[in-house]
Amino acid sequence: MDKDPKRDPERLLQQIQREEARQKRGRLKVFLGYASGVGKSAKMLDEGRRRRQRGEDVVVGAIQPKSTPEIDRLLATHEIIPTLKTAGRDVIDIKRILQRHPKVVLIDGLAYDNPPGSHHAHRWQEIEELLKANISVVTSINLQYIGEMQDEVAAITGKRPAETVPLAFLKRANDIEIVDAPAAEEQSSRLREMALLVAAEVVESELRDYLTAHHIEENWGIQERILVGITPRSDARPILESGKRNADRFHCDLLVAYVKQKELSPVDDAALHRNLEIAREFGATTHVLEGTDPVRVLIDFARKQNITQIFIGHSHRHGWWHRLRGNPVDRLIELANGIDVRVFPQRLMT
């Protein structure tokens, strides 16, 4: 068993505070899709219908301009508080919703901006207000409208929507559900993949919170995480290149760690900094660790970081010291139970 506590007290406190706050708050559920027309509205309205069947007080607070016969059929079963047309924009009638105070409000389309001069600039801020008033909200959004995804989406579609919602708002949702459907073209395929990965990321933070809150110390390695261990003398570039390529393929984080050694020669020091620089260019986070037993330090760090694969260079050192303490690669493999260890060729650099 891993003795290293993964219970970060600060995080735990945040978690408790969030839980407490949530008890008086409405619950937020978001349907996420990669394009319009994948069926988010229908799913949302169908969920509303089922909740009403179970006796919950549900109203619709916003609908999309485009409709289908199926959506019309579902809408007909609901009570609707229509949006207001203000300066040519659809604005939810927050006053009426607050007055009516249903248990759940369905708001189709999360990424709308209000006209200039409104109390809230964005619809998601109004939703925040409803949640605070203990009204639960079920809403929908397209991947394209997540603020943090703008660059990646623009690289695929060439378009950059003006109205966006911060990813943090989605991460605070109690529930996020992906609405998946086949994609005909390569472009929409890429968006579809991105939407699935965004949802995975949100679920990942949910999982971490859950495990922390319930003191469960498990690392199931659901999300791969790669750690490259370097030394001043290691031939780091090929390892870092491979780390980068693998991280891209697994859509995962790349971490690079160096365990501090005493009295580095100027040459070694320069080599080390070059390697750390390459690591950062590859998008890795770099970590300088301290401790007397480098192998142990690296492993402890890997466990704390939920690493699934460690990349290191072969060891060429077989001197008396290593005979005494064991070859560092052998020791790493021995200690790295639960983590894959990939050992890379090294040019002799002595």
């Binding site: 068993m1 891993d2 559920k29 529930d175 996020i176 559900e177 992906i178 609405v179 998946d180 459907a181 086949p182 994609a183 390569e186 395929s189 890429r190 579809r192 993949e193 699935l196 990965l197 949802a199 995975a200 679920v203 990942e204 949910e206 999982l207 859950y210 495990l211 319930h214 469960i216 498990e218 690392n219 199931w220 390695g221 659901i222 999300q223 491979s242 693998n246 393929r249 697994f250 859509h251 699934t308 072969h314 060429h316 690669v329 052998d330 493999i333 021995e334 790295a336 139970n337 639960g338 983590i339 894959d340 260890v341 990939r342 050992v343 890379f344 060729p345 090294q346």
Partner: protein, 359 residues
């Protein structure tokens, strides 16, 4: 057998989720209803009602091909009637529970093999499966849920699907459905809540499913180009199955070729003692089932033979088991692992974590 010998191979669509009760069958039937509305000739080849009212209602008006009754050890079982479907020859066939194992005595062992037969006859198939049925994830699923899933589908079969669609539901909604008795009757539900349906397991499985679905989308629009060639060392050690699964999974993600090699000092598996021979053969078969090319090499020194082969065949990565500490020293495969690390400083060697055990 088909009435349309010139028909193109049918298209396969898989509705993927992470637990029973997620709504896969419901969504599949809803789509079947839409197809029928558009005058597509669609039939239900196999449907498992599990007594779920909403789902059963979705079959209304759809043609159902009668199942075949089979007898096994005095009990009667109902299976999909492949011959009847082939005779009926619809455009689209709905087949629930892709990972199902047919009753002994059936023409084919697995339902996915039945589905392949339908596809070969030019019939499009829509089917459902859960993440935990994917072979290469078997060890991880056991880590998460404590359950060893027996009914699995090899990864290459899923790769053949034209579409994999994720059917998502939140774990909370799933647990509520289970408690309300929508998914199983109550005794089974209580049991399920303690195992597969523990909240943390469901959240973990859901994340894994989202990532798998993203991966399935990715490999369909962009085949990774790579020169990676993976070599998996086969031995009689039970952990070899886990090594094969992990190797297969990494190879799929990297777009790498994958080989599995057993080194024999006689050059022939037949001369091994029975128990050892059975294990080695089982592992070689398992690798072949996962579409990994297998070889048996002749050599007195397993480590040296493996490294020679790797150099000759331009292998880029050797996959090995962790040396397992035994009461008397290290296991045989452990010794080989250390030897290979010494012999092959010019190669990438991956020592795979034991995913079956808790760290």
């Amino acid at each position: 057998m088909s009435h349309h010998p010139t028909r193109e191979r049918g298209k396969l669509k898989v509705f993927l989720s992470y637990a029973a009760g997620a709504g896969k069958t419901y969504q599949m039937l809803e789509e079947a209803q839409n197809l029928k509305k558009r005058n597509v000739d669609v039939v239900i080849g196999y449907f498992e009602p599990h007594g779920r009212k909403d789902t059963i209602a979705k079959t209304e008006g759809l043609e159902i091909v009668r199942r075949k009754t089979m007898e096994y050890r005095g009990s009667k079982f109902e299976e999909m009637d492949v011959d009847a479907i082939l005779r009926r020859s619809p455009a689209v066939c709905i087949v629930d529970e892709f990972a199902h194992t047919n009753v002994p005595g059936s023409e084919r062992t697995k339902r996915w093999e039945d589905v392949m037969t339908l596809l070969d006859a030019g019939i499009d198939v829509q089917t459902t499966m859960n993440l935990q049925h994917i072979e290469s994830l078997n060890d991880q699923i056991r880590q998460i849920t404590g359950v060893q899933v027996r009914e699995t589908v090899p990864d290459w079969v899923i790769k053949q699907a034209d579409e994999v669609v994720m059917v998502d539901v939140t774990p909370e909604a799933l647990i509520n459905r289970l408690k309300r008795g929508v998914v199983y009757e109550s005794a089974k539900a209580a049991q399920a809540l303690e195992n597969f349906f523990r909240e943390q397991s469901l959240v973990a499985l859901r994340e894994l499913t989202l990532r798998q679905a993203a991966h399935e989308v990715e490999v369909r629009h962009e085949i990774p180009r790579t020169n990676d060639r993976l070599l998996i060392h086969i031995t009689d050690e039970p952990r070899t199955a886990m090594l094969i699964r992990r190797g297969r999974r990494v190879a799929d993600y990297l777009g790498a070729e994958c080989f599995a090699v057993y080194v024999s000092d006689t050059g022939d598996v037949a001369s091994l003692p029975d128990s050892e021979r059975e294990s080695v053969e089982r592992h070689l078969n398992f690798a072949r089932n996962l579409r990994i090319e297998t070889l048996i090499l002749h050599g007195q020194n397993a480590a040296a033979t493996l490294v020679d082969f790797a150099r000759r065949e331009r292998i880029t990565q050797i996959f090995l088991l962790r040396p397992e500490k035994k009461r008397l020293g290290v296991s045989r495969s452990g010794v080989i692992t250390s030897q290979i690390l010494r012999l092959a400083p010019d190669m990438q060697v991956t020592i795979v974590a034991d995913r079956t055990a808790k760290p």
